[in-house]
Amino acid sequence: MATYLEFIQQNEERDGVRFSWNVWPSSRLEATRMVVPLACLLTPLKERPDLPPVQYEPVLCSRPTCKAILNPLCQVDYRAKLWACNFCFQRNQFPPAYTGISEVNQPAELMPQFSTIEYVIQRGAPSPLIFLYVVDTCLEEDDLQALKESLQMSLSLLPPDALVGLITFGRMVQVHELSCEGISKSYVFRGTKDLTAKQIQDMLGLTKPAMPMQQARPGQPQEHPFVSSRFLQPIHKIDMNLTDLLGELQRDPWPVTQGKRPLRSTGVALSIAVGLLEGTFPNTGARIMLFTGGPPTQGPGMVVGDELKVPIRSWHDIEKDNARFMKKATKHYEMLANRTATNGHCIDIYACALDQTGLLEMKCCANLTGGHMVMGDSFNTSLFKQTFQRIFTKDFNGDFRMAFGATLEVKTSRELKVAGAIGPCVSLNVKGPCVSENELGVGGTSQWKICGMDPTSTLGIYFEVVNQHNAPIPQGGRGAIQFVTQYQHSSTQRRIRVTTIARNWADAQSQLRHIEAAFDQEAAAVLMARLGVFRAESEEGPDVLRWLDRQLIRLCQKFGQYNKEDPTSFRLSDSFSLYPQFMFHLRRSPFLQVFNNSPDESSYYRHHFARQDLTQSLIMIQPILYSYSFHGPPEPVLLDSSSILADRILLMDTFFQIVIYLGETIAQWRKAGYQDMPEYENFKHLLQAPLDDAQEILQARFPMPRYINTEHGGSQARFLLSKVNPSQTHNNLYAWGQVRNCQVSRGGGQALFEKLVSKWISLALETEFTQVFCWGWGWGGNFEYCSWGGRGHWCGSPAVHSII
């Protein structure tokens, strides 16, 4: 097993790829019986300091339908200067530049260690980066001030030739012209009127060959690299103007009467931003950054009316179909997101408010374009400030950790087809020989567009084995997959990163152990979770959970070992041992549970879950808990209520939150001030240790997590209590009346869960596993109903009792 773990780790480091199965079942039928689909998590732009890009262009397979890129897996005839495509077996002539190659003089792309390689395209002029700020002015004075400071700070972080633009909105939308001297000029739009892209461009004067003096000539950025419009100017030119402009930015002056929300035209503002870029810089990397302090309250995309007495929609409203504006607003933002994606731009949403801001409706803007989504309570918090600052961090080369307008193409060898992708991408609808008819996630294509990426952006890519059972693959055969990512690097170069991987085929009947051993349960858990979350966007929560349960049971059924009529004998091999635990936490996670989360929060969590890499995703699924004590170095402990001890300090990382929790005794000591006494310096160090560790996490993570420092009995301790497995209380679970109010106990204890699973599996194995079974036993159902707040009555369900 160690070898497989090493293999997996090595592959991840080199290629940014984690497969659920590292040995592939060789037929369609067997593959489907594996329950967890053949899939991978791909981090296309994984940082590779050790991988300098090559300064030439890739060599393509000459078959028009293939066009795979020359890679180490290709067979090369050095004498004939030919190479055979390992995907379509086309024999290709090397281009003239390769005449000198031989076994000892290989180009990089033929060396095995360069299974991932990056090419720099020299053609075409580099395009400047574009940052369009879309700023809500319906903010409290403090908030606005803080936001203005953050924005001004960001200006200093941008490269001098980056183009910047500014749109502000409140009741009206103002597009600011940045190159004016002596007078500040802006174009104003009514916030209630939906305008077509054409109208917007007309009104902004973008459709005409514009004024000569302003050298504003939209379009054809390739021909005129630094062309700009009046609204997007190189920062080095208008730095002062923009700083002044931001400085003079006022709160929206329109009066807001008592009992009303301010009128906020987010929908139109975004529409104008999209239209502006669409008209001036299509297919050039650009980032629209929307800063909003509340829900859109008017015009297209409005999420809630301006009457304060009518609260913004909740899950309850949505379930009851009471969310009046949701569908229309969602449609509006989807339309915008798709247009944005088509043009290769991305939209960030920075939403800071105590109440919801409409992320549910707007989420697609970030999700489909690869933009960031940041949710905070106020712009005047370090959470926002540091998160925002982190967007402009730079890599080892001094380049921004962002890439634009990427397309990801997947090529497979003929036994495989690609079924879909889940991540911050949209389909490019490119059909091809390697596209599966079955869709998992965003499917039906072999290419996706990812408008905004960073080195951690990760997609889940799902495959289907199409080899028929009766057409066995010869022993030692390998399947291959090539990922080709073309993107605009933040240094404005166009680049292509190519990753080619291959895995062995195995016959599931004869070599199941091999396959089993090559199972990557972490990757599988995340990939299954992505599928679940993807489904949850469109399906009812209980259905998703039931589906997850069923998959889990089927997996255990397939790979578990068990003695008849003895549930306790149920065993899973090491490569599967953690998987049920992941599933347990996944079921309770905010990605699938909406109870106690607002729709905005759910959207926010799901957004991040769908784009983080494996490690972070696992943290999201199963938070990490460290325990600090005098008894030894900090150690990871079970995410269980039993880990909460009086003389420990706990550090919990849920990805979105970092919680430091002082046990009862520790808290008392601190209160008594022992840490200040020289003789108790060790206590001081103990107190400091988790803080330091937390800082380390805080420094690295994007978005900046909510940092909570609490102690036993503190009100914020709930953040910890809500996450740990309630083993200490699970006996109370069945007490009437407690369940609904006690979120800690939601979902039941892990022990109970595992117990149930084993029992269930055993039952399932004894009888025929059928859907009827699942429904009849219904714990998947009833159990969940309970968490759906009010619908459930599982406590009274005889079925549950009978299971237990």
């Binding site: 009206m172 002596g182 104003v188 739009f189 009514r190 004024m211 002044d244 002056p253």
Partner: protein, 1057 residues
């Protein structure tokens, strides 16, 4: 003159003539012709009664103006033409142009003719001048009786007016078989013959006889034709061409005003022009165009006579028929008389039904219970008691109300009355406001409403005892009980949404499209605004104006500006969505000038720079322009309802729109002006704006517009006592119902004309009351009610009605009525309606009030003796009879202007003032006496100033003395004067100072800056100038005064028969 006033009865001859002549008399008397009269009379009467005569007299006086005569001959034909027009309708206008053409040739020849005619003229006079002497003559001429009530020249009139038939017979020879035509022809032939035979001088004399001879034959027939014939020729033809030449020949002095001429015997021999004959021929051709009187100087003179003289032969027949322009009622004279008679004493308004002095008279008003005529003028101060009577008389009952009229400094503006929280005291039923006519009863505890007779309780706090006459003892302490005009402070109940208004604001919206930038307009305007903003209207002694200002510029899109005082630099906000307009900012758009001065100055500095390179030629009005390019006929109508809707919204929001247009192409004023029109705003139009030439005019208008005191968000309501009712309103405003006149803005120049109709019988004793209440917001943002009360008499006798009319007001009403009519009816219909109504008014008078006299006599009521001449001016105006060069925009513009003009403005607008500058001694401080607006009155040795409230011309005769040219223009000769010059050089000599001073004072009198245009005689620009000589035939076919008078006479006769 007396006669005139007396209206009815004077016997045709004597009286009328005297009257008329009154003015002329002196002249006549002096003239030798007196002997001649009798004969002439006969003769004239026969052929062309009144008219014919007139010419002769004219001539006689004219002697000096000899020029006239020649012209007259030539004109004769024209005259016919003119008639023809009338008879036939507008159709004839067409030909006019040709006529003109002809005229010229004719005239020149005349010019050459020697003065001989002069002599003849006297002769002519004599013939005419029967017993009454000169007076008679005039009367005859006037056949039509121009003179006031009396219709003097019976015989001639009779003949002249006589049915066309006679003419026809006579006219045989003439092409113009038309009624009019026939006359002239008839006459013409004879005359011509006669004249022809006679030498230049003799002919003149002979002419008369001939005429008479004619008359006899023609006597059967009306003199219509004849009249016209002669008149026209005399005036029209002779006028221009002939006259000038004549003048030349004659010494300048001749140019003296008519009066003086009159006195003098036939001074200078009018040059006779054989050429006149040609003129005649022309007539025959049917073309008569000549509108202008020949004798400029002589104004009146008998052109005919001169013509005769001059005309040797054939053409002459006409001359005899002419009416003497001097014999017909002269506006100048009427104005002068009124000035002399009524200008000296203040007009005290205490007496009910008093006719105020004319608008042209300077007088002071003492408010003793009725509103000053500056606020309200009525068509009649005596209202018929019954609607039948009113219908019979056809005199429109209308009041021209100018609620916020500016007062001379000597008169106090209305007192402000504060009735406290309960608001102004009003009648419970009709809601009329407390006024001096309310009757207090029961010892003062109650009052009876004078409008609806409802009895109301007097609120305790308002109670006061009555004295023995039944008046409250505090009557003289309270403006609302003793004055005709006063103001109430309005309570919150009178405010929109029950909230006191916030201070008003001015928004300057500036076109910054390519044309505006290129013309320099934008820079000019921005510069001006910087200083102008210090002079926003303020209330009373307020230190600074409460009015806030905002700025918008626009081309294809709109730019709003944030000029909040706290900003370091102005902010511009562009709104491109012009289809769905909105104001993009709230705070900082409207600001206090002094607080935001720095930002505003910075903005105004930058606007011209910002758009300096603009290529944007399109403006937001463009779509409208294109939509309007088609179908000229409907162009006069607003093209789109959008502006209408917009305007209504404006009114609802209390937003008044002033429009400054600088078109160099068609912009559809009719459509654009809808908004200003409905919101009580003003339209200013500067065609082909060029900074150098027009900046003063524009800036002056702008200053005045910005600085004038304005009432905002106003509602006006006119209440009347039982029996009459306000039924129709004219002016720049919007009405959402039938009673409330809503004005988003109302300034001191804007006037509302209100028409009344009977709905019951009126009582002679109680009279009729009007109360005009205007609710408005003052410049300082104070809500107020201004009340004007006016009591009128009621009469059962038509004579009373006619005795208490005001023609100027009548014209004001009729013009507005007609101008509105053209929106819905063909122009011809409107014109006919006007003529018919006028004829009915006069016919009614003739029938019911004038003493029996020959049907041939034209008898005019004294008060209305100018009605025909003024009405003719209205008919000839650009709106009702546009010439080829008058654009649709111009028409719409004028129409729009007239709609809110007051009486003084319409008076001068329709009958321009023509002031000779070099006739009176330079030292005299007073304005020179005006002369009649006719080319005949121009002498080529003089310089004239003409103004009509919109235009200002300086006409320079070709033979003006060099010294004069030098001292005015600083050039050495006439030929060096730049035609079209708009500024007189500033020279330090008495003449220059005087002229410039006069120009300045004229401009000061008018609400719009009048741009000066220097016109040289015989220059192409002169055509433009001649357009304003309204007594002459106009290029567009408008009839001359004389012709029209004849036509009117004919109409009246038809009505009477």
């Amino acid at each position: 003159m007396n006669v005139n006033q007396s209206a009815p009865p004077v016997p045709p001859f004597g009286q009328p003539q005297p009257v008329y002549p009154g003015y002329h008399q002196s002249g006549y008397g002096g003239q030798p012709g007196s002997t001649a009269p009798p004969t002439s009379y006969g003769a004239y009467n026969g052929p062309v009664p009144g008219y014919q005569q007139t010419p002769p007299p004219g001539v006689s006086r004219a002697p000096p103006s000899s020029e006239a005569p020649p012209a007259s001959t030539a004109q004769a034909p024209c005259g016919q033409a003119a008639y023809g027009q009338f008879g036939q309708g507008d159709v004839q206008n067409g030909p006019s142009s040709t006529v003109q053409m002809q005229r010229f040739p004719g005239s020149q020849p005349f010019g050459s003719v020697p003065l001989a005619p002069v002599v003849s003229q006297p002769a002519v006079l004599q013939p005419f001048g029967p017993p009454p002497t000169s007076a008679q003559v005039t009367a005859q001429l006037a056949g039509m009786q121009i003179s006031g009530a009396v219709a003097p020249a019976l015989p001639p009139v009779g003949l002249g007016y006589g049915p066309p038939t006679s003419l026809a017979s006579a006219s045989g020879s003439f092409p113009n078989s038309g009624l009019y035509g026939s006359y002239p022809q008839g006459q013409a032939p004879p005359l011509s013959q006669g004249q022809g035979h006679l030498g230049a001088q003799p002919p003149q004399r002979s002419a008369p006889p001939q005429a008479s001879s004619f008359t006899s034959p023609a006597s059967g027939g009306p003199r219509m034709p004849s009249m016209t014939g002669p008149l026209l020729p005399g005036q029209g033809f002779g006028g221009p061409s002939v006259s000038q030449p004549n003048h030349v020949s004659s010494p300048p002095p001749q140019a003296l005003p008519p009066g003086s001429q009159m006195t003098g015997p036939p001074g200078p021999p009018p040059p006779m022009h054989s050429s006149q004959q040609p003129g005649y021929q022309l007539q025959q051709n049917g073309s008569f165009g000549p509108a202008r009187g020949p004798q400029p100087n002589y104004g009146s003179p008998y052109p005919g006579a001169s013509t005769f003289g001059s005309q040797p032969g054939p053409p002459q027949p006409l001359p005899p028929k002419r009416l003497d322009p001097d014999a017909i009622p002269s506006p100048i004279q009427v104005i002068e008389d009124d000035r002399n008679n009524r200008g000296s004493e203040p007009f005290v308004t205490g007496v009910r039904g008093q006719v105020p002095p004319l608008v042209t008279t300077n007088f002071l008003v003492k408010d003793q219970g009725n509103a000053s005529p500056r606020y309200i003028r009525c068509t009649s101060y005596n209202i018929p008691c019954t609607s039948d009577m009113a219908k019979q008389a056809q005199v429109p009952l209308a009041a021209v109300i100018k609620p916020l009229a500016r007062l001379p400094p000597e008169e106090a503006s209305p007192y402000v009355v504060d009735h406290g929280e309960s608001g102004p005291l009003r009648c419970n039923r009709c809601k009329a406001y407390m006024c001096p006519f309310m009757q207090f009863i029961e010892g003062g505890r109650r009052f009876q409403c004078c409008f609806c007779s409802c009895i109301n309780d007097v609120p305790p706090q308002y109670f006061q005892h009555l004295d023995h006459t039944g008046k409250r003892v505090d009557a003289y302490d309270r403006p609302e009980l003793s004055l005709g005009s006063y103001e109430f402070l309005a309570t919150v109940d009178y405010c929109k949404n029950n909230k006191f208004p916030s201070p008003p604001a001015f928004i300057f919206m500036i076109d910054v499209s390519y044309n505006a930038i290129r013309s320099g307009l934008v820079r000019l305007l921005c510069e001006e605004l910087k200083s102008l903003l210090d002079f926003l209207p303020r209330e009373g002694g307020a230190e600074e104006s409460a009015i806030r200002v905002g700025f918008v510029t626009y081309n294809k899109v709109l730019h709003f500006y944030n000029v909040k005082s706290s900003l370091a630099q102005p902010q511009m906000m562009v709104v491109s969505d012009v289809a769905d307009m909105f104001v993009p900012l709230l705070d900082g758009f409207l600001v206090n000038v002094s607080e935001s001065r720095a930002v505003i100055t910075s903005l105004l500095d930058q606007i011209p720079e910002m758009f300096a390179d603009t290529r944007e030629t399109e403006t937001v009005f463009a779509p409208v322009i294109q939509a309007g390019m088609e179908a000229l006929k409907t162009l006069f109508q607003p093209q789109t309802g959008a502006y209408q809707t917009l305007a209504k919204e404006c009114v609802a929001q209390g937003c008044c729109v002033d429009l400054f247009l600088f078109p160099n192409q068609y912009v559809d004023v009719a459509t654009l002006s809808v908004v200003p029109q409905l919101t009580g705003g003003s339209v200013y139009k500067y065609a082909c704006f060029q900074v150098e030439n027009d900046q003063e005019r524009f800036l002056s208008d702008l200053r005045r517009d910005v600085q004038k005191v304005v009432g905002f968000d106003a509602v006006m309501r006119v209440r009347t006592s039982t029996g009459i009712r306000a039924v129709d309103f004219f002016g720049a405003f919007y009405m959402s119902n039938t009673t409330d006149v809503e004005l988003a803005g109302l300034d001191g120049d804007k006037t509302v004309t209100v028409e009344f109709k009977h709905d019951d019988r009126l009582n002679e004793e109680s009279g009729a009351l009007l109360q005009c209440a205007l609710l408005y917001t003052s410049c300082a943002g104070q809500r107020r009610l201004r009340i004007h009360n006016l009591a009128l008499n009621c009469c059962t006798q038509l004579a009373d009605l006619y005795r208490n009319c005001e023609t100027d007001t009548l014209i004001n009403y009729m013009a507005k009525f007609a101008y509105r009519g053209v929106l819905n009816s063909p122009v011809k219909t409107v014109r006919d309606t006007l003529i018919t109504q006028c004829a009915q008014i006069l016919a009614c008078y003739r029938k019911n009030c004038a003493s029996p006299s020959s049907a041939g006599q034209l008898i005019l009521p004294e008060c209305m003796k100018l009605l025909p001449v003024y009405l003719n001016c209205v008919l000839k105006s650009d709106v009702l009879q546009p010439g080829a060069e008058v654009t649709t925009d111009d028409r719409a513009y004028v129409r729009q202007l007239v709609t809110s003009m007051d009486v003084a403005e319409t008076n001068v607008f329709f009958y321009p003032r023509l002031l000779p500058l070099t006739k009176s001694p330079i030292e005299s401080a007073t304005e020179p006496p005006a002369v009649r607006a006719s080319e005949e009155r121009l002498s080529n040795g003089d310089i004239y100033l003409l103004e009509n409230g919109l235009n200002l011309f300086l006409w320079v005769g070709a033979s003006v003395q060099q010294g004069v040219v030098q001292s005015l223009f600083s050039v050495s000769s006439f030929s060096q004067i730049t035609s079209g010059l708009s500024v007189l050089p500033v020279l330090d000599n008495p003449l220059s100072k005087k002229v410039r001073g006069l120009i300045d004072s004229l401009r000061a009198q008018r609400s719009r800056y009048m741009k000066l245009i220097v016109v040289k005689q015989e220059d192409k620009l002169e055509m433009l100038f001649k357009h304003f000589l309204v007594e002459d035939k106009s290029l567009s076919g408008g009839a001359s005064y004389v012709d029209f008078l004849c036509h009117m006479h004919k109409e009246i006769r038809q009505l009477l028969s």
